[in-house]
């Protein structure tokens, strides 16, 4: 056996690097990459140097003003006509475009953070080189540095592009929207808006939107619990039915149920809305069977909220049960048989076995994915938006209907008549808080959390 000698370099503080390093080392506290260049790691050195130059140029010519204007979100709040004394004419001044100011401001902040990170990388590499030099060890050459990108630092290489994607298409928009919650960006201030602190939160939690927020929140939670519980429970039952002894062509049966899931939701749900319509096929069938004497308002505007809500949950079962059936099938197939055998010998009947053995075991394995489903249901936009569109409308609500969830309401506030962008951003944050709290509590009580 070759016992690899553990190489523990005595750590050097930055103070030591600064006081004992050579000129290039000292210089790299100000000019990034100079140490790397002095050690002939010219690719790294040039990359650091160029990014510093580009950053400084950008910061002087555009960064300062971008960050400065962020504090007010633009000086001109409304369109006004001012007299220009120098030219002796009246000029119309357009309001400043606060959305772009905010967006570029957030982008500038992210760029600054990225630069600080690069600076730290620069310092670390300088210290590393300094230690190697001090201890008389070999400083990696340019080629070796590049090769390490495919070996010990492969993670950095593979993550660069995905990270950039996440930064620009997830982090930047999310930060932008979070900051929007602290402004008065709404119908009255569609172009130029300003910071208003927690005022939008106040509107939602105790102001004019509170009368909508709390009932919608209540229904969202009821919906999420009901939707998760029904699809899970009946999915397990369906899986057990298909897996039970004697049933042939199990794969065929499973596929029959799963096909619904392959049809794009905007097709299946829009068609379901037609199917359930007052004049739709279902009412037609029921009338022909003489089960009902007059058509039922299932999901349209004249439906009673209770009927509409029950219908929505039932339709969601139609969509959701196959998925949970598929997942629980995989678990059922892997359940240990011995406990069930033992219970059978002791004279337990099928219901007892299900209640005391099979179901708890499935619940145990599926707990993490149930939490995910619960959060997914809080955010279940498609079912509500495509099926009912929030109908029946509720006159007591502000821009929402009786079946609207927080997410569909958020969508209405942004893209509907209301145009209360700040309120919708607040809703987004509140949905995030709810999801985070639920998963935190739930994960703490499941095994998966303790393990990982």
């Amino acid at each position: 056996m070759f016992l690899k000698k553990k190489h523990v370099a005595p750590k050097a503080t930055y103070r030591e690097v600064w006081s004992k390093g050579d000129i290039a080392t000292k210089l790299s506290f100000f000019i990034m990459g100079s140490n790397a260049l002095a050690n002939k790691q010219w690719v790294k050195g040039l990359a650091l140097l160029i990014s510093e130059i580009v950053f400084i140029v950008w910061f002087i010519f555009s960064g300062i003003s971008t960050l400065g204007i962020l504090a007010t979100l633009g000086p001109i709040k409304s369109k006004k006509v001012v007299y220009d004394a120098a030219q002796g004419v009246y000029i119309t001044k357009q309001p400043s475009n606060s959305v772009l100011i905010l967006l570029f401001g957030v982008l500038a902040i992210i760029l600054c953070i990225a630069m600080i990170y690069l600076y730290i990388v620069n310092l670390r590499s300088t210290r590393h080189n300094y230690i190697l030099k001090r201890d008389g060890e070999h400083i990696p050459t340019n080629v070796q540095e590049l090769k390490s990108l495919l070996d010990t630092r492969l993670h950095a290489t593979l993550m660069v592009i995905p990270l950039l994607g996440i930064l620009f298409f997830t982090v930047l928009p999310t930060v932008f929207m979070i900051s929007m919650a602290f402004t008065n960006y709404d119908r009255q201030h569609p172009i130029a808006f300003s910071w208003t602190g927690f005022q939008a939160f106040g509107n939602v939690l105790s102001g004019d939107l509170a009368g909508t927020f709390f009932p919608v929140l209540g229904w969202t939670l009821i919906w999420a619990v009901a939707a998760t519980a029904t699809t899970f429970f009946f999915g397990v039952l369906l899986a057990m039915l298909i897996e039970s002894k004697g049933i042939k062509y199990k794969a065929f049966w499973r596929t029959v149920f799963v096909i619904i899931w392959a049809v794009p939701q905007f097709v299946s749900l829009l068609m379901m809305a037609q199917f359930l319509d007052y004049q739709g096929a279902l009412n037609n069938i029921l009338m022909n069977l003489h089960w009902i004497s007059s058509p039922i308002h299932f999901i349209d505007n004249q439906a009673s909220p209770l009927v509409a809500r029950i219908t929505v949950i039932l339709v969601n079962m139609w969509i959701g049960i196959p998925v949970s059936m598929l997942v629980s099938t995989a678990i059922i197939q892997n359940l240990p048989e011995d406990q069930i055998e033992a219970a059978k010998i002791d004279g337990a009947n099928a219901v007892q076995i299900f209640r005391s053995i099979t179901f708890p075991q499935i619940l145990f394995v599926m707990a993490p994915s149930l939490i995910q489903q619960f959060i997914g249901n809080i955010n279940n936009f498609n079912v509500i938006f495509l099926l009912t569109g929030g109908a029946p409308m509720n006159s007591k609500y502000n821009g929402a209907g009786s079946t609207d969830l927080l997410v569909t309401w958020l969508y209405n506030l942004t893209f509907g008549q209301e145009q209360r962008y700040n309120a919708s951003a607040v809703l987004g944050i509140l949905i995030f808080i709810i999801s985070a709290v639920v998963s935190l509590i739930a994960y703490r009580h499941t095994n998966a959390y303790k393990e990982g």
Binding site: L150, F169, P173, F266, S268, A273, G280, V327, T329
Partner: protein, 285 residues
């Protein structure tokens, strides 16, 4: 003994009846969708289950409708989904592999950040994405592709669960033999993850065909129906006019059936991978 076997047979028959009944409930609406696509219809509304009059006119109509260029939509969607499939699969598999097989300082924080980011509703970022793309002058199919690809790095959970199940000793053996981590990734990680690559690719391929929200926000500004994707185009077809009832409703259904068929076939193929993916993460409990 006889009564016991009788009882079992009775139970089996009962279970078959129940299963068949449920299967009918699940399949019926889909059958209805297919039937509706063949029904002769000029009211913009399908109110009967069995069409009164069968016709192929809807399928001819959807391809020749001058107002809704269905052919263009299919080509647009095909291009976007193929490109998105190749790029997203590469990104997702890389991130999943790195997070599952390699150990580095940023790993834990990244997993936590990804978890937190995933809890914000996706709609929240739509306005921002709209303005970013508008600023870059990319409110078109290319911008849409960027949005699909941009999120790929966060969709690593299923693939990571898969990589977690491959024993690490294989990697270690290769590294002792002098392979670099890149070689391990290329010659061991990737070949072993073929089913996962297929699954990730199919999911990425299907997404553009079913997404009507993001494509709607990004593509609707141009107002040029030729640049739409299939999902938004079809959705737009029934929603621009009043409510769901438009003159082109039957054509809309026909269009839906046309795109649903390939997706369904793909889906039946990847059903197995999907289950493996979900349970790989959950099985450890």
């Amino acid at each position: 003994m006889k009564s016991y076997s009788n009882q079992r047979r009775l139970s089996l028959i009962f279970r078959y009846i129940l299963l068949a009944l449920l299967a009918i409930i699940w399949i019926l609406p889909i059958v209805w969708i297919v039937l509706a696509s063949f029904s002769y219809n000029d009211t913009g509304f399908v109110s009967t289950f069995w069409p009164e009059q069968f016709t192929l006119q809807n399928y001819v109509g959807i391809f020749t409708n001058p107002q809704y260029p269905f052919g263009n939509w299919i080509i647009n969607t095909l291009i976007v989904s193929l490109l998105s499939m190749v790029i997203s699969t590469f990104l997702t598999i890389s991130v999943a592999y790195v997070l599952s097989r390699l150990r580095f300082k940023f790993r834990k924080p990244f997993l936590q950040i990804a978890l937190v980011l995933g809890m914000f509703p996706g709609f929240m970022s739509m306005i921002a994405l709209y303005y970013i793309l508008k600023g870059l002058n990319m409110l078109n199919l290319f911008g849409l592709l960027l949005v699909y690809v941009g999120g790929a790095g966060l969709g690593f959970y299923v693939a990571k669960g898969f990589f977690d199940t491959i024993p690490r000793s294989i990697d270690e053996a290769a590294e002792i033999d002098g392979a670099t981590k890149w070689q391990v990734f290329l010659h061991i990680g990737l070949p072993l993850s073929k089913p996962m690559i297929v699954y990730t690719a199919l999911t990425a391929f299907i997404a553009p065909w079913t997404d009507f929200i993001f494509s709607g926000i990004i593509l609707s500004t141009s107002g040029n129906a030729k640049t739409y994707t299939v999902a938004y185009g079809l959705y737009n077809m029934v929603h621009t006019a009043k409510g769901n009832a438009t003159a082109y409703f039957a054509q809309f259904v026909a269009g839906c059936v046309i795109i649903a068929i390939p997706i369904t076939i793909l889906f039946v193929f990847m059903q197995k991978f999907y289950v493996n993916g979900i349970t790989a993460g959950a099985d450890k409990g």
